[in-house]
Symmetry: D3
Subunit: 113 residues, 6 copies
C-alpha cells in the first residue's frame, strides 16, 4: 500500500477516536449504521462501494471519496469500471465534480503501486 | 404501467422538446452524454441505473429519482435491492433525503400495478 | 390545528408506513436515530428543534422545515424567536433560502389558528 | 403578461408581506441587500440578472429561477442568450439541473405570449 | 488560546481586510449583517452560535465551522452540548458531514489547552 | 504571472492528463463540452466567464473559482466588476460563500503582480 493511503487511513482512525471519545450514543449509532449499509445483502459489498463512491463524488466530499476509492480497489474494481463510475458522477453532478475526479484518480493510481 | 408513471414520462418528453427546440448545440450534446453514460459498458446498464438512482437521491432531485426508479424497475431491480440503495443514500445524505425516499418508494409501488 | 397541518402530518405518516414496510433494518435504524437526536439531553428538546429547523432551512428541505416548524410551535417557540432562526438561516444560506422562509412563515401562521 | 407569470408575481408578493410583517430588522436588511446587488453598477443590471439566473439554476431554486427568467425577459435578453446561460449552468451543475432547465424554458415561453 | 486557533483568527482577519479593501458597499453590508444576526435578541447569542454551528456543519463549510466552534467555546458551551449539536447535524446532513465533525472536534480539543 | 497561479495551472494540467489517460470516451466528451460552453456565442466569452465564476462561487468549488478568476483577469474584467460578481454570489449563496470569496480575492490580487 502506498504511503499516502496509509497516512490517510491512520489520520482517519485517529480522528474517529477523538469523535467517539465523547461517548455520545447517537454519534456511535450513526457510525455503526455507516458501516452496516455497505455490507453484503441483496446487493453485494462491491456494488455498494460503487454506490458510496458515486454518492460521495456528486456530494463532493473528498475524504469520503478517498475512503470509497480505497474500498473499491480492495474489492477488485477494475480501471474501466472505476472510470465509468466517475463518468456517471460527472454527468449527474457537473463540472464542479471535476476537481474531485482529479483527486480520486490520483489516489486510484497511488494504489496501483 | 400506472397512470402517474405514464403522465410523468409524457410531461418529461414534452418539456424536453421545448428545451431542445432552441437548437443550442451544447445543450444537445449534454443530453446525448446524459444518455450515453448509462449504457452497458464495463459496468452493465442495471448497475449504472443504481448509480444514477443513488446520486439523484443524495442530490435530492425528485424528477431524476423518479426517472431512475422507473429505469430500475424496467431493469429488474428487486424490492430488497431497491431498499438497500435507499439505505445507502439515506446514510450518505442524511435525514433530508427522507422526503425523497418517501416519494421514491411511492413511485416504486405505483409501478407494481 | 389547521387543516393543512393535519394533512401534512397524515400524508407524512402514510408515506413513512410505505418506507418502513420494506423491512430494511438499516432504514429502520436510521428512522430511530432521527427521532433520538431531538430528545432532551444536555440541550433541551426545544433548542434541538431550533437546530433541526435551521439545518433544514439552509439545506432547503421543505418537508423537513414544515415538520420542525410544527415541532417548534408545539414546544412554545415565540414569533420573535422564530424570525431570528429564519434570519440566521437566511444569512448563512443566502437568498436561495427565501422561498423556503416564505413557506415556513406561511405554515407558522397557519398554526396560529 | 401571461396568467401564470402574473400569479407567480402575486403569490411572491403576498408571501413577502407575511415574511416582512414580523418586523425583524435583519430580515428586512437582507431583503434590501437582495435588491441592491442587481442594480446597475460597474456591471449593468442586465448582466447581473444573468448572473442571478445562472446562480439560481446551479443551486436549483425554482422560485429564484422563475424570478430571474422574468427579469431577464424584461431586460431584453434574447432566446439565444438565454439558452447559452442554460448551457453554462447545465455543464457546471450537471444533469440534476435539467428538470429546472425544463421549467425555466417553460416560463420563458409563457412570457412570449 | 492554542497556536492553531490564533493562526486561524489572524488569517481570517487578514483576508477579510483584502475582501473589504475593494470598497464594495453591498459586500460591506453583508459583512455587517453576518455579525448582526448572531447578537443577543429574543434568542441569546449562545443559542445563535449553536444555530450557526449546525448550519455550517450541514453545509460543510470548514472555515465557518471553525469560527463557530471558537465562538461556542467562548460562550461556555459544554462538551456534552457540543456533541449533541454534532449529532443533530450528522443525522440531518448524513455521513458526508463526518469529515467535518472530525475536524470540528479537533479544534474543540485544541481549545481545551 | 505569479508563481502560485503558475503552479495551479501546472497541477491542473498534470491531473487532467491522469483523468484523460483512462481513455473513457464520455469523460472526454464532458471535458470537450466544458470548454465549449464558455466560447464566444450570442454572449461573449467575457460574460460567460463571469457566469462560470458566479456559478462556481455559489457552489463553493475552490478550484473552479480559481480557474474562472484567472480567466476573468485574462479577459480584462476590472476590480469593480469582479467585486460585483462576488457580491451577487455572496447574497445568493450566503455567508458560507465568504471563505471562498476570501480565497478568490487573494488569487485576484496575486494576479496583479
Amino acid at each position: 500500500m502506498s504511503k499516502k493511503v496509509e497516512q490517510f487511513r491512520k489520520e482517519r482512525e485517529r480522528l474517529n477516536q477523538i469523535v467517539l471519545a465523547g461517548d455520545n450514543l447517537n454519534i456511535k449509532r450513526f457510525f455503526g449504521l455507516d458501516s452496516a449499509v455497505y455490507r453484503d445483502g441483496a446487493l453485494d459489498a462491491r456494488t455498494k462501494e460503487l454506490l458510496g463512491l458515486v454518492a460521495s463524488l456528486v456530494l463532493r466530499c473528498d475524504d469520503c471519496i478517498s475512503y470509497h476509492v480505497i474500498q473499491a480497489r480492495d474489492n477488485g474494481v477494475t480501471d474501466k469500471e472505476f472510470d465509468e463510475v466517475m463518468s456517471v458522477g460527472m454527468v449527474v453532478g457537473g463540472s464542479i465534480t471535476i476537481p474531485h475526479v482529479r483527486r480520486a484518480k490520483q489516489i486510484w493510481k497511488e494504489m496501483e503501486k
